[in-house]
């Protein structure tokens, strides 16, 4: 094989391989190489100049216009507390206590982060929608079928993720999110 052909082949393969690997990593979702706490994953550098090129590209794809941690923290769960992938055909009990911030909500998304069509037209559960007991504990159900109490529908999504938004988190939450008390996601059964 002639030299120019060898160079052309290697350069073309390098170009395709480099771009393909970058796209694969960016499309890997928001959970890679980040801080984990139970089923939840988060990062500290969203929206900031401190973010790595990979984190910035991932956030641009799956969470464009995210705020920095001082303003809001985003925790994403693609698995339940037992480590099983969240499945739209299953019913989950999501429960927790007081979250260390000013306001929170949990939103259900499919794919790269789209709200799911459902008959109840409900896509999130904000703090104001759940009843809390004397200890500040609360809970709601995630399910494809109507549930008693607060219910977040999975619609027709086969796989989904939950995003917990915590606005104006406390300094402790920002500095050590891996030690924060975050909600539990327990699978109760599948259709």
């Amino acid at each position: 094989m002639k030299a120019w052909l060898r160079y052309s082949l290697c350069i073309a393969l390098g170009l395709i391989g480099g771009v393909a690997f970058a796209v694969h990593q960016v499309r890997g979702g928001l959970n890679d190489g980040r801080i984990s706490n139970g089923p939840w994953d988060t990062g500290k550098s969203f929206g900031s100049v401190d973010a790595s090129t990979l984190t910035r590209a991932k956030v641009a794809l799956s969470g464009l216009l995210a705020l920095p941690a001082k303003e809001a923290m985003y925790f994403t769960a693609t698995r339940d507390s037992a480590g099983r992938a969240l499945d739209g055909r299953c019913t989950y009990d999501v429960r927790g206590g007081k979250l260390d911030g000013r306001w929170w909500s949990i939103t259900l998304y499919e794919g790269e982060g789209w709200l799911v069509k459902n008959a109840a037209n409900r896509w999130s559960v904000p703090a104001s929608a759940v009843a809390t007991d004397a200890q500040g504990r609360w809970g709601f159900m995630v399910s494809p079928t109507p549930q008693t109490g607060t219910w977040l529908p999975t619609g027709s999504a086969k796989a989904f993720d939950l995003t917990l938004r915590l606005y104006h988190p406390s300094p402790d939450m920002i500095s050590v999110p891996e030690k924060a008390a975050l909600p539990v996601i327990e699978r109760k059964g599948c259709a």
């Binding site: 350069i11 390098g14 909500s105 999130s124 104006h168």
Partner: protein
Amino acid sequence: MMRRWLFPLVAGCLIALGAYQATLLATPYALMYTALQKIGQRATVNQFAFASMSTADNQPIVRPSPDLSYSSCVFDLSKGPVLVDVAPVPGRYWSVSIFDARTDVAAVRSDQDTNGKPARLALVKKGQKVAAGYEPVILADDRGLVLIRILLANPQEFPTVDAIRRKSTCKQI
């Protein structure tokens, strides 16, 4: 045999590294450009667009929050600074954030930062004059996005919040 392929393989590896980095660097700019084009269809440049609440049928950007009302202004500083005046909505969380062309947050101010008073920001490039009474936000690129988020406790609050947020302005001087 191996010697004939050594330099082409090294060249291929270097190109792969460069292509990997270039793709990562270009991705935020490309996605922000697409978002600005999409959001820009709702209002002219340097003017707020007041979106209805996000639903499964109304998702202008990825991962929207259905609990927040969004107002956005695609800005362009090529012809001069842009002034942003945000009307406060009492008794609730609201914030205004400035995103640059690379998707980084250049500034964010919330109701806590302003103690419930209006937020007044001047978006400028280096060397442009800042209007009196405005907090400067210096940007490297001409284009970007202003985004106001306002928390609603329930959807019934939307008409009241909508009337207040429409007092916010984004304008070139």
